[in-house]
Symmetry: C2
Subunit: 664 residues, 2 copies
C-alpha cells in the first residue's frame, strides 16, 4: 500500500495551480520555504513523535514535553536557526509548553514594560534561556478584570524593596502556563502600594525557584493546577498556582517603563505613553487570529480528506457507495469552514500590517487610530477563535464516529484549542468592548469627527440606512459591491438601532447593561463585515497562478453568502435585503458548493501540512485511512494483554456467580 495515493483521482480534478496556492496561503515564497523546511525537520525527528500523547499519564506526558522542549532548543542552537525559523519549528512541534510563555509573554513583557536598563539586565539571560519566565497575572478569583487583582506589592522604603503578598485564597495566582513546574522567574502583576496608597496594578519580575536546585524560594508556594480538557492536549503545560508570603524583591525589579517608584517611594510617571500597552495587545491578538486560521484549516484538512475517502449509502447494483463529500449536507457544513479558514488567513495577514501601522504611528506619537485598531483586533480575536473552536468540533462530527477516536487527531485539536476563546480576553467581554467603540463612533457621527479604518463605512451611514440591495438573480450575489453594501448596511443599521435604544435610558451604563445581548450581536455583524471586506480587498491584488484567484473568489463568495444565510434574521429585520434576495443567495451558495467540490482536496493540500503535523489517521495525505486506523488501535495499552487486568478479580467472579465472596 505504501506509496499508493488513494486521493490521486481527487487531486487530478483540481482546476488550479496548487503550488501557487501554497505561496498565497503562506503569505510569501520565503514564508512558505521556511515553513516547509521546518515542518519537515520536525516530522523527520523521532523525538518529536506525538502519536502516543493521548495514552501517556500526566507525569510521562510532561516529562516528554520537557524532553521535546530541550531537544528543540538544542536543534535551534545547532542549526543556528533565525528567530523566525525557531518560531516555526516550535509551531510544528505542536505541543503546548513553558517555552510558549517564555517567548510569547515573559520576554515581550520585559521588552514592552521594562526600562532600557531592565531590558539590558534581563533580556540576554532570557534569550539564552539561562532563566525561564512566565506571565503571572490571573488569580483564582480574578480573570477578565485585571483591576480586580488582589496580590499586593508594597514598597518598603526602609529596605528599598517591594513586599509581594497573597492576602487571600482568591488572590492566588492561577493559570499561568509554565509556572507550575518549570519557570525560574515570573512577570507578576500586583497592586502597587506606596505609602499606604493603592497605585493600581503593575508588573514585577520575581524569581520563583533557585537556579541551583530548582526548589521554590522562601515564602513561595507553587504547584500545578491539575488536569485540563482532553487527553494529551494542554496537559503538557504546567499551568500553575502561586502564593506569596511576603516575598521581598529589590525595587529595580518593578517594570518601570511607564511608572517609576523612586528611592523615596514616590511614583513618577515617565514620558512614555501609556497607550503602548495597547500596541502589545494588538500584537498578541493578531497572532491569535493567525493561529485561528491554522487550527481551523488543520481540522478542515482532516475532514475534507476523510470525506473524500469515506463512502456511505447510495450504492446501486453493488457498486461503490457515494463519497460522503458529494452529499450536499456535508458540503453545506464543510465548505463554509474551508472558506472561513482562508478568510481568517487573509484577515490575519492584514492584521499584521495593521500592527506595523499602529507601531509606526505610536513611534510618531500619533494615537489617533489606536482605539479603532484596538477594537478591531479585539473583535477579530473573538470572532475567529469562536468560529474556529466550533468549527473544529463540527469537523469532528463531519468525520462520523471515527472522529471521536484520538487517532483522528480532532479531539486533541479541539481540547487544545478551546481555551483560546477565554484567554487574552474572554470572547464575549471583547465583543462588548467592540460594541462600546461602535456606540461611541455612532454618537460622534454628527460631530464632524470622521470614523477611521474599519469603521470608515459609518461615515456613509445616511446612505447605508436607506439603501436597498439590487440583487435580482442569484449571480448578482457574486458582485463584490453588492455583498459589501449588504454587510455594511446590516452592520450600520444594527449599530444605529442599538444606539437609538440606548438613548432611551436615562443612565447610559444601565442601558448598556440591559441591551448587552443586542450589542454583542451588533459587534459580531461589524466583525463579520471586516473579514468579508478584507477578503474582497485581497482579491483586488494581483494573484498569480493558474486558477488561483478564481478559487479564492469562489471561497470569498461562499464565506459571505454562508453568513448571509446563517444570519438571515439580521439582514431581513434591518431591511437590508428581501426574503427573495436571501433565497437567491442560498441558491447561489448551492452552485458555489458544486464549484468547490472538485477543488476541495487541492484546496486543503495548499495548507502544506505534513502527516506528522496533522496527526490524524483520517487526514492522511495518501488517503490510506482504514489500515492506519486499524494499526493505531493496537497501540492502546489495553491491548498489551488479551485478558484485561481486573478480569480475575472483577469479571470472573461475576460470570461464575461468586461475587458474594469477592473482595472488591
Amino acid at each position: 500500500m505504501e506509496g499508493v495515493d488513494f486521493l490521486a483521482p481527487e487531486r487530478n480534478k483540481a482546476q488550479f495551480d496548487v503550488e501557487e496556492m501554497k505561496i498565497v496561503w503562506a503569505g510569501s515564497r520565503e514564508a512558505f520555504e521556511v515553513s516547509d523546511r521546518m515542518s519537515r525537520l520536525v516530522a523527520s525527528d523521532p523525538v518529536f513523535r506525538k502519536d502516543n500523547r493521548p495514552m501517556l499519564g500526566r507525569k510521562e506526558l510532561f516529562k516528554n514535553t520537557l524532553r521535546k522542549a530541550a531537544h528543540a532548543w538544542k536543534r535551534i542552537i545547532e542549526l543556528r536557526l533565525t528567530e523566525e525559523e525557531a518560531s516555526r519549528l516550535r509551531f510544528y512541534v505542536d505541543e503546548p509548553a513553558f517555552t510558549d510563555l517564555h517567548w510569547g509573554m515573559f520576554i515581550p513583557a520585559i521588552k514592552g514594560q521594562g526600562t532600557e536598563e531592565q531590558q539590558q539586565q534581563w533580556l540576554p539571560l532570557a534569550y539564552k534561556m539561562q532563566i525561564i519566565g512566565c506571565y503571572a497575572q490571573t488569580e483564582l478569583g480574578h480573570g477578565s478584570n485585571v483591576q480586580g487583582l488582589e496580590t499586593t506589592a508594597t514598597f518598603d522604603p526602609q529596605t528599598d524593596e517591594f513586599v509581594i503578598n497573597s492576602p487571600t485564597l482568591t488572590s492566588s495566582k492561577w493559570w499561568p502556563g509554565g509556572l507550575g513546574k518549570v519557570s525560574t522567574h515570573a512577570a507578576v502583576y500586583a497592586r502597587l502600594i506606596t505609602d499606604g496608597q493603592d497605585q493600581g496594578v503593575h508588573g514585577f519580575i520575581v524569581q520563583l525557584r533557585s537556579l541551583d536546585d530548582h526548589l521554590p524560594l522562601p515564602g513561595i508556594t507553587i504547584g500545578d493546577i491539575g488536569m485540563k480538557f482532553g487527553n494529551g492536549a494542554y496537559n503538557s503545560m504546567d499551568n500553575g498556582v502561586l502564593r506569596f508570603d511576603n516575598v521581598r524583591i529589590p525595587r529595580n525589579q518593578m517594570l518601570m517603563r511607564v511608572l517609576q517608584v523612586t528611592r523615596e517611594g514616590k511614583c513618577v510617571q515617565s514620558n512614555v505613553p501609556r497607550q503602548l500597552v495597547y500596541g502589545t495587545m494588538v500584537y498578541v491578538r493578531q497572532s491569535i487570529v493567525s493561529d485561528a486560521s491554522c487550527a481551523l484549516s488543520r481540522a478542515v484538512c482532516i475532514a475534507t480528506r476523510y470525506s473524500a475517502v469515506r463512502r456511505q449509502f447510495g450504492s446501486h447494483n453493488g457498486g461503490l457507495e457515494t463519497q460522503v463529500i458529494d452529499y450536499k449536507t456535508q458540503q453545506a457544513r464543510l465548505f463554509p469552514l474551508l472558506a472561513s479558514a482562508y478568510a481568517f488567513r487573509f484577515v490575519g495577514e492584514w492584521l499584521k500590517w495593521l500592527y506595523m501601522d499602529v507601531t509606526r504611528r505610536l513611534q510618531a506619537n500619533d494615537f489617533s487610530t489606536l482605539p479603532e485598531a484596538h477594537a478591531c483586533t479585539a473583535g477579530l480575536k473573538s470572532l475567529t477563535t469562536s468560529v474556529t473552536a466550533d468549527g473544529i468540533e463540527e469537523c469532528r462530527k463531519l468525520c462520523g464516529g471515527h472522529g471521536y477516536l484520538c487517532s483522528s487527531g480532532l479531539p486533541e485539536l479541539f481540547a487544545v484549542y478551546v481555551p483560546t476563546c477565554t484567554y487574552e480576553g474572554d470572547n464575549v467581554v471583547l465583543l462588548l468592548q467592540v460594541a462600546r467603540h461602535l456606540m461611541k463612533t455612532v454618537s460622534q457621527l454628527g460631530s464632524g469627527k470622521k470614523p477611521v479604518g474599519t469603521t470608515a463605512y459609518m461615515g456613509r451611514v445616511e446612505h447605508l440606512m436607506q439603501c436597498r440591495s439590487d440583487v435580482q438573480k442569484a449571480e448578482d450575489w457574486l458582485k463584490p459591491n453588492v455583498v459589501l453594501e449588504a454587510f455594511e448596511a446590516r452592520a450600520a443599521r444594527m449599530a444605529v438601532a442599538c444606539a437609538q435604544a440606548l438613548s432611551k435610558f436615562a443612565n447610559p451604563e444601565e442601558g448598556f447593561q440591559q441591551l448587552s445581548a443586542d450589542l454583542v450581536e451588533a459587534a459580531v455583524a461589524h466583525c463579520q463585515l471586516i473579514v468579508v471586506s478584507k477578503f474582497l480587498e485581497k482579491l483586488q491584488q494581483d494573484i498569480p497562478g493558474k486558477g488561483v484567484k478564481q478559487q479564492l473568489q469562489i471561497l470569498c463568495s461562499i464565506y459571505a453568502l454562508f453568513l448571509v444565510h446563517k444570519n438571515l434574521g439580521d439582514f431581513l429585520s434591518t431591511g437590508c435585503i428581501t426574503a427573495k434576495q436571501g433565497s437567491l443567495g442560498n441558491e447561489q451558495l448551492r452552485s458555489l458548493y458544486s464549484q468547490v467540490r472538485p477543488n476541495a482536496i487541492a484546496l486543503v493540500d495548499a495548507f502544506n501540512y505534513t502527516d506528522h503535523y496533522l496527526g490524524s489517521a483520517l487526514g492522511r495525505y495518501n488517503g490510506n485511512v482504514y489500515p492506519t486506523l486499524y494499526e493505531e488501535a493496537w497501540k492502546d495499552p489495553l491491548n498489551d494483554s488479551v485478558v484485561p487486568d481486573g478480569y480475575q478479580e472483577y469479571v470472573r467472579p461475576m460470570l461464575k456467580q461468586q461475587l458474594r465472596n469477592a473482595r472488591l
Copy 2:
C-alpha cells in the same frame, strides 16, 4: 467552612416550592424517591469515587471500571434492587461500562429479535450475568448504512451451521462497546447467505471468549480500538474491534423471530411483523432524549451555581464585584439552556407515553401511527442531542477559564456526551429521515389522508400558509396560541417551500439530494415545534406546588422566544411574523430573563443532583468553590514532587547552557 451555605441568599430568593418542582422534574413522587435513594447510595460509597478519573492511565481507569461494575452488581444483588432501582443505580455510578451494552442493547436484541425458545435459552444467562453480551453491528468502513455491512454469515447445510466471516479489513466490527475486553458473547449483524443468495442483514448470537479463561475462541481476533475524546470520559468503555476467520455457530443462534432459516437452508418469513424493529428504535431513542435532559441539566446546574458565586467587574467604591449571573450576556446564554433542559425533560416524558402507545398498537397489529412515531423520535433524538452537546460546551465557556479544568466536571461531561450525536443514527441522517416523512406528508395532503400525531398541524396547512401573527405588544408573546401558531406556520411553510422546490426536479431523488440542506432546516423547524407544543401541553396539566407552574410558564416562553430570536431568518423569510414582532419577542425575552434570575439557583436545585453526581468543584451545592478548586489542584500527580521528573535531564542542562552534551 464546612456546613456554610454560600448560596443560601440565592435560595432564599426563590419564588416557588423547590420540593414540588423536584417531583415535577422526576416525573412522579415514586420516581423521585427511587432516584433520590439511589443517588445517595452511590454518593456515599467510596468504591464509586470518581474525582480521580481524569488522572488515571487507560489500564488503571479500565480496571477501576471493572471494579465499579462488579461492586454495583454485588450491591444490586445484596439489596435485592428492582430493575428500576438497579437502572437508576447504574445511572448515578456515571461511568460508561460494558454493562450499558449488556443491559441496553444485547438483552433487548434477544428480546426483540429472538424466538421464544431463544429467549428462554439466552435471557436467564444474561439476566444473571453468567454471560456478558454486546451489540456488534457497525464496521470499520460502515456506520450509518446498515445495508452496507460486509460481514457474512453463510449457511452450511452440511453441518447445519452458519459460517461467520470478515472478508475485508473494512468489514472488521468496530466500535461496539464492551466488545474490546469484556464481552463473552455478541449479537453480531451480518449478511445472511443461503444457497449463494444474499438475504440481507440479520442478527446472530456468537460466543467470543471462553467462559473458562476468557481467551478469544478460535478464529476470533479481538481488541480495543484505542483512546477516545477526553480524559476519563468514555475511555472506561472497551469499544472494540472484531474479526472473524470463518467462525462456525449452530443454526439456532441466528435471531429468527422475523426470518427463519430451515434445516434445509430455506428462508421462511414468520408472521411477526417486520415493523417490530421500529418499536425498539422508538424505545432506544426516547431514552436518549431523556438522557439529553439529564446531561444538559447537569451542565446548566454547574454553570448556574458558579455564575452566582463568581464575581467580575462592576465593583464600586471597593465593594464586591457583580455576580456574573447578573450580566445580561450571561443570562442570554444560560437561561435558554436552563429552559431547554426542562423542555427536553417534558418532551422525553411524552416520548415515553408515545412508546407505550406504539407498543399497544403494534400488539393490535395497528401500524398506522408507526411512520409518524418513528420520524418524530428520530427528529427529537437529533434535536435534543445536538443542542445538549453544544449546550454543555456553552456552559463550560460560561464558567470562564475554570471551566477548562477537569475539576469543573464539564470537559468530561462534554467528551462523554458528544458521541450521542453520532450513535443510534447520525443526527443529520436522522433529520433527512424526518424531512422525507414531512415531504411525504405534504404530498399526501390533497389525497384526503389526514396527517396524524405531531404532523396533525399539517392538516391546517391552508390556514397556516396565510395566517399572520397578531402580536402587537411584547406581552402578546406570552399567549400559548400565539407562540404555537407562529411555530406551526413556520414549520408548515418551510416544508411546503421544500416540497414546491422538489417538484421542479424531474428526478425526485436528485432533487432531494440537491435540496438536502434546506430539507434539514425544515426538519429542525418541525422538531422545534414538537418540543414547544409538548411543553405547552404540559402546562395545561394540573401542576401543584406554590409558584411551580408559573416558573414553568416562564421557562416555556423563554424556550420558545429564544428559538424565535435564534431562527429569526426562518420566521421572517416565511412571513410568519414581522420584523417589529420579532423585536417585541426579543424585548419580552429580556423581561423573562429578569423573572428567572431570582429563581435560577432553585430551578437547578430541583434537579436534585448530589455533589458526587455533578462531580464539579464549580457546581458545589454550597457554593464553596474556590477552596474546593484549590484542594483539587494538589491531587494532580505532577504535584507528587516539588521538582518535576525530567528537570535534571532536560531543564537543568538548558538553564546551565550544557545542552550540547546532554543526551536527549
